[in-house]
Symmetry: C2
Subunit: 368 residues, 2 copies
């Protein structure tokens, strides 16, 4: 089923897929959705440029998007060393002690870089790289991007999307010039608020008015959920967790064996919201790592971007240790329904077919 947003973005299905993998993003676009590449993992903007160059060549000319993590106002930002000095030693001790008790060995070679995409300067560089390519959409995970970024995108005919977990945030984004609001319910993986999709989505649709398309995010993984989002007034859906268990996801990303086993095993009850990943509230798959941070002796997480500097190396150590019981991985509650690894094209075909089937079923209901 096509919505007006499909025409506006030049896509076949009202399905937008967020993923850190350019292989997954390209496959989503090739299958008729809009693949949106998450830029935050690219510490060196040249690596993002290379990934987008590759996408330009591997999307059959179809549109794609780029997602950055950019606060509207630049936070105080020092050099990497300055920032590291703000991390309290007690927090470092807790992380080291926890990793040791969980059997996570140190990395073979010293490796100091956290994920720098949380830094405003790096996110700005990501935007510049994106503008040199041909994205149909620039999305910002932290709400409205700065005004000059919105202006530059619009000059190039690129739509701007922002994620909102509350209706007041959505209203402000539209006032700032954002074109598409992603209404992200609490069910979602990664940064997420407290309001469930069932309540949030129609609330934001009504608040921003008919001229602003809204994507439903949080808890979407099947065609019935796609149809439910459209029932609630969305122009499409924004999905994230689903793509973590696609065949294309493994390509070009570091070892994901433990993460995939953890995600395949997780039920819808096996996620938790916490500030431990980035400093902002985010939903992660439950593991011994998230449990350690929930224990009474654990320190309060630090604000963004300090928390990621604190845990960045821990995340890489955890990834290298490859233990499914000790993972640090954002995922939504829909992870309970993803129980096999499939090609992206099959996922999209099933979404579309199930939504059509569900609509046919609704049309068989008799009037009351």
């Amino acid at each position: 089923m096509r919505t007006d947003l499909c025409d506006r973005l030049g896509i076949e299905h009202p399905i937008v897929g967020f993923t850190p993998s350019e292989h997954v993003a390209a496959a989503i676009s090739r299958a008729g959705g809009l693949g949106v590449l998450g830029a935050v993992r690219f510490n060196d903007p040249a690596d993002l440029a290379a990934a987008l160059d590759w996408m330009d060549k591997n999307t059959d000319g179809r549109p794609y998007g780029v997602d950055v993590v950019m606060p509207m106002k630049a936070p105080t930002e020092g050099s990497f060393g300055d920032l590291r000095s703000l991390v309290p030693p007690g927090h470092r001790d807790f992380v080291e002690k926890t990793l040791q008790s969980l059997g996570v060995p140190p990395l073979p070679a010293a490796d100091d870089d956290g994920v720098l995409g949380w830094l405003h300067s790096v996110a700005r560089a990501h935007v510049e790289v994106a503008l040199e390519h041909r994205p149909a959409l620039i999305a910002n995970a932290l709400g409205s991007p700065p005004a000059d970024v919105i202006a530059q995108a619009h000059e190039r005919g690129i739509l701007v999307a922002a994620l909102a977990g509350r209706v007041d945030h959505a209203r402000r984004q539209v006032a700032d010039g954002v074109d598409i609001v992603v209404a992200q319910g609490s069910e979602a993986g990664g940064h997420t608020g407290e309001i469930g999709s069932m309540v949030l989505l129609p609330e934001i649709v009504d608040a921003v008015g008919a001229s602003v398309p809204v994507l439903g995010a949080g808890g979407i993984g099947s065609g019935r959920q796609l149809l439910a989002a459209l029932s609630l007034g969305a122009s499409g859906v924004w999905m994230g967790s689903t793509w973590l268990l696609t065949e294309e996801y493994a390509l070009g990303l570091p070892n994901q064996t433990a993460v995939r086993r953890a995600l395949l095993a997780a039920s819808s009850s096996d996620t938790v919201r916490a500030r431990i990943y980035s400093g902002k509230m985010a939903r992660l798959v439950k593991s011994k790592w998230t449990e350690a941070w929930a224990a009474p002796d654990a320190p309060e997480p630090l604000p963004m971007p300090l928390q990621n500097l604190l845990v960045g190396e821990a995340h890489r150590r955890i990834a290298a240790a490859d233990d499914p019981e000790v993972v640090a991985m954002p995922a939504g509650q829909i992870v309970g329904r993803i129980n096999e690894i499939r090609p992206v094209a099959d996922v999209i075909a099933d979404l579309v077919a199930e939504a059509d089937e569900a609509l046919t079923r609704l049309n068989t209901l008799r009037p009351s």
Copy 2:
């Protein structure tokens, strides 16, 4: 729109409304839904009997339901005095100190009764009273009722429903003989789990199979949400918070001025999940009372039924004080969308009309 469940329950619209008010319950049934009277507030089963007698005469012969709060296994239960002795003095001191600091005066006369409906013996008496009337449905807020209760209901042709917040609970309920599962997402008011409706509802629908009707609960307050629940595979919806702001709600219940003002003012962000109401996790409207329990100096809530014994008198003092900033009231996130007090019949008519309209809109989407 009619589902098979409408035929099974003998109702026009797939809308089940839970409410502590017999006036609201009767109005829901008269308007073509199924009004379900919450029994927990009736400390004296004779009062429940009187309310059901009244409903028998004021529902135009249409079906209604009764909701009890009954654990499957009887908990250890002593006399009222024995139970009270299990409440730690430090908890009592915290409650008294908090009420004083919030300006909530003592009750004029000593009044010792908590809400006894949480006690298994009282819930059993509620069931007996219900069985002497003509409910179409007995629902249990705490999962499967005891086997003999299910058997007695079935002997009389009464359907049994249970609330489930997780898929494993739903599976167990069906194995126990429950006829209808209420899949209650985290958005819901009162006792509620962690999984959002968007994820929980199709998960439970698939787990219990096509022969067991599932009602979507949590976040339902409009026709679009009703249609979304049906899209997700539900046979209908179970709504609670919406009825708190109907004209009929004030009839026959104690003073609700402060509660209504608090609910009318609340946004979807103004609820909180906590164990402070009954000892089990429940969503309440945020107030200075819920904030006091979230403060670092607050004690951990006690298990059910002790927490209600601890706060029962506080709830009555708070109600008598009638301050909209200090309320102790279960409500779901949908409370943000309920901004006026309306007759029940208008609410139901709008639900049905908006659902029809949303389905018409879905049918205008072009194929992709």
